[in-house]
């Protein structure tokens, strides 16, 4: 990348390192870090939306909907999350292909599940076998985001359901006394107030989400774990201008530090946010703030 990098053999020490860390392959690593950040940025709101839907459904007065909501937030109990990750990626992929198959090839004569094969017509393949590489990668990423959102949505549903129940009953009764409908009470009184109760749970969830991102590797995405293994492995002088031994240990140490720093920063930011939200609330935290000031 730098002008002095043309002949790596003459370089030493820090200059060598600066050239080594800016090779094309390392750019792949840096891009994958961005991928992780994008995943977090997309998954967090989507999961929150799923969770909100789940929690609302769990409070519904319509019984099957309530079952659906409770069942959704219960699926994550008792089963390892990575089993879900592996399950949903295949299951979602097959569900999409099955749907497209039903729409696009209605008169396909053969069964879709033939013994140990899953066969859909050519036009229903996702992504189409003719589409370019980036479409395949984007589709894989999309599936990963959806999987993350479903799993974390279930966690979020749990947290939000608890938060909705933590809002003092008197608040809702007051709203009813003012003649608000159930819907109005929900949107105008319950939802604005539940966040302060939900925040500890949600910030915990955010930490967990950060720590779940390396699982992308299991979903077949070229993420940081993939690159750390790829780049850290022993490389012979014949294949590269930067030969080195087995450095995977150092690459994973770097990942470890990256995650620790990320968690630490999140912790500080979330603490600040919590302080802001508790300000003036009728909770122990809000009371403590008021006393500290007085």
């Amino acid at each position: 990348m730098f002008s002095y990098c043309t002949d790596p053999e003459t370089l030493e020490g820090l200059t060598w390192l600066s050239c080594y860390l800016t090779t094309g392959k390392h750019m792949g690593l840096y891009i994958s870090v961005v991928t992780v950040l994008v995943l977090l940025a997309v998954t967090a709101p989507t999961a929150l939306l799923f969770g909100f839907g789940g929690a609302t459904a769990a409070r519904s007065r319509f019984l099957p909907l309530r079952w659906l909501g409770k069942g959704y937030s219960a699926i994550v109990r008792g089963v390892p999350d990575i089993a879900f990750f592996m399950f949903f990626v295949i299951a979602l992929d097959q569900a999409f292909e099955w749907l497209r198959h039903k729409v696009k090839c209605p008169d396909w004569p053969d069964a879709i599940r033939q013994g140990n094969d899953f066969v859909v017509c050519q036009q229903a393949k996702l992504p189409l076998s003719s589409s370019p590489e980036w479409v395949h990668e984007t589709y894989a990423f999309f599936l990963a985001v959806l999987t993350f959102s479903i799993v974390f949505g279930a966690f979020a549903a749990n947290v939000l359901y608890g938060a909705m129940r933590a809002v003092p009953r008197a608040q809702l009764e007051t709203a009813e006394a003012y003649g608000m409908t159930r819907r109005q009470t929900f949107w105008r009184v319950l939802v604005p107030q539940m966040w302060v109760y939900a925040l500890p749970g949600l910030s915990n969830l955010w930490m967990v989400l950060i720590k779940a991102t390396p699982l992308l590797f299991l979903l077949g995405i070229e993420d940081i774990v993939y690159w750390a293994r790829e780049l850290g492995g022993t490389v012979n002088a014949r294949f590269t201008e930067y030969p080195h031994g087995d450095w995977r240990m150092w690459y994973f140490l770097a990942l470890l530090v990256f995650y620790l720093a990320f968690t630490k920063v999140s912790e500080v930011v979330l603490d600040k946010l919590m302080k802001k939200l508790t300000h003036g609330q009728a909770t122990a935290g809000g009371e403590a703030q008021r006393r500290a000031k007085a």
């Binding site: 994550v76 109990r77 008792g78 089963v79 390892p80 999350d81 990575i82 089993a83 592996m86 399950f87 295949i90 299951a91 097959q94 599940r113 140990n116 094969d117 899953f118 966690f155 749990n158 947290v159 749970g201 915990n204 969830l205 967990v208 950060i210 720590k211 779940a212 991102t213 390396p214 699982l215 590797f217 299991l218 774990v225 750390a228 293994r229 850290g232 087995d246 995977r248 240990m249 994973f252 140490l253 990942l255 470890l256 995650y259 620790l260 968690t263 630490k264």
Partner: protein
Amino acid sequence: MSCWDTIQAYALRSIGIGERLLPREGYDLCQQFTLIGSGMFWNIYFGIFALLAGFFFAVALAVGKSSHNPLLRKPAEWFIFVFRGSPLFIQFFFAYFVFLTLKQSVPFLGAFTAAWLGALVVLFLNTAAYSGEIFYGALLSIPKGDIEAADAYGMTGWTRFRRITFPTMLRLAWPAYTNEAIFLFHATTLVFFSGFPVLKQQGDALYYARYFADKTFNPFIPYPILAFYFILLTLVIVGLFGLINSRLNKHMPKETRTKVRFRPNLIR
């Protein structure tokens, strides 16, 4: 092959007893149930030993973190932060490659590159950090009156810790610790996906579930079977820990007993 034959051939496959090759055809329910169940050996092995060893280390960490002496407090704080702040998945990878590097200079440490020991060490340290934080929280919430009463009786140091602090800490921490145990067992499924090699296809439950999912291209059978086994395991853990919990709470009036509540927001 009848189902009984399958069970004889594969029930202990994960620890190397029975048929050498994994099933190559059929993939019927019986095969899947047997082989995935056989993989549970590894999950249970990792879970139990990490939990047992981790418990003692966790108590030490909690006491260290609540100590006034910075020489004890700082290391405990850092240890807990490092293991709780980073993904277990990365910890596995890092540890594996550290052991691999160490093996080159100290061949004696070669055993650590195998999952049965290396992954166990990582899980042990990890669960110690998580439980340490739980116990630390419990130490902070021991009722002031209990300690004052102990002081009034003239108890100090080790006696006070053994008779008052430790039992109360354990009682207060137990519900959270139950969850920690459940999630530790769930975390054991990560082992064989994170660097540690599977020797002779002797893997854990998820390894076999994925084997079947890859072979049949049908995730709707192996993963629910895996889920079934894990739900069973979770129920057993909840039952056992519930027994210990009621023992710990025996002397308490009914309404002030700590209850085990399942709080599923912990992935590592």
